[in-house]
């Protein structure tokens, strides 16, 4: 089985996503500032969502005809059109799952932001190490 340049490039994309996951995990676990933790957490969840979309992608039917979004554009669809469409459309299911996940993720991040603000108001710092020392 020879190495296909397209498969190689696609795998490179997936590898960079794994690396993003690792870097942002480092940010969540090891950086002292709570704000930096929130930023890293958003990157982490975005990367996880991107994985779902990447899984739903497909090889092009031929190297010159691109896939289409999962939306029927000819109303009413004829038999031939449906065959053409199903041979080209990408998977709609991960997109539907990610769609709500992004909005919910934002709402949860907003809650975290308010928590951080409240911690700052009480302790005058967002550094977790100093908060741990101040704990009384």
């Amino acid at each position: 089985m020879g190495i296909n340049i397209d498969t190689y490039l696609f795998n490179l994309l997936i590898m960079t996503l794994f690396a993003n996951l690792a870097i942002s995990l480092y940010g969540v676990l090891a950086r002292p500032s709570l704000i930096k933790k929130v930023i890293a957490l958003t990157i982490l969840s975005d990367t996880a969502n991107t994985f779902a979309i990447v899984v739903g992608y497909r090889m092009w039917p031929t190297p010159t005809s691109p896939p289409v979004p999962p939306v029927i554009t000819r109303i009413p669809p004829s038999r031939e059109y449906m065959d053409w469409f199903t041979a080209r459309a990408v998977d709609p299911l991960p997109q539907a799952l990610v769609l709500t996940a992004i909005v919910i993720g934002l709402a949860v991040t907003l809650f975290l932001v308010f928590l951080t603000l409240q911690i700052y108001r009480l302790y005058r710092t967002t550094d977790v190490r100093r908060i741990a020392k101040l704990k009384g």
Binding site: I5, D6, L9, F10, L12, L13, I14, M15, T16, L17, A19, N20, I23, S24, Y26, G27, R31, P32, S33, I35, K36, V38, I39, A40, T42, I43, D46, N49, T50, I53, V54, G56, Y57, M59, W60, P63, T64, P66, P67, V68, P69, P70, V90, Q95, V98, L99, I102, V103, G105, L106, T109, L110, V113, T116, L117, Y120, T125, T126, D127, R130
Partner: protein
């Protein structure tokens, strides 16, 4: 002549590398405002990636959330607290 498929997959790989660099800079930068701007670059790369992966619905919801709302929220938060991360 490069086939269009290879061209598009190449752009995808380039975007992945760009998002990796931006993520690294955003996580290690000590000035939090700059970190927010780096994360905006990473979000733009992801948005373009979603577009090339044929997910217009996701772009429509991801661009407002990640380019518009996250930076605003974090900037509000930094304005109310502190700008530099202690080391």
């Amino acid at each position: 002549m490069i086939a269009p498929q290879t061209l598009v997959f190449g752009i995808l790989a380039l975007l992945g590398l760009l998002s990796m660099v931006a993520t690294y800079l955003a996580v290690t930068e000590r000035d939090l405002v700059k970190a927010v701007v780096f994360s905006a670059i990473q979000s733009t790369a992801y948005a373009f990636m979603y577009y090339l992966l044929m997910a217009p619905d996701i772009v429509l919801v991801y661009v407002p959330v990640a380019v518009g709302l996250y930076p605003a929220v974090i900037l509000f938060l930094i304005k109310k607290t502190e700008r530099f991360e202690g080391e």
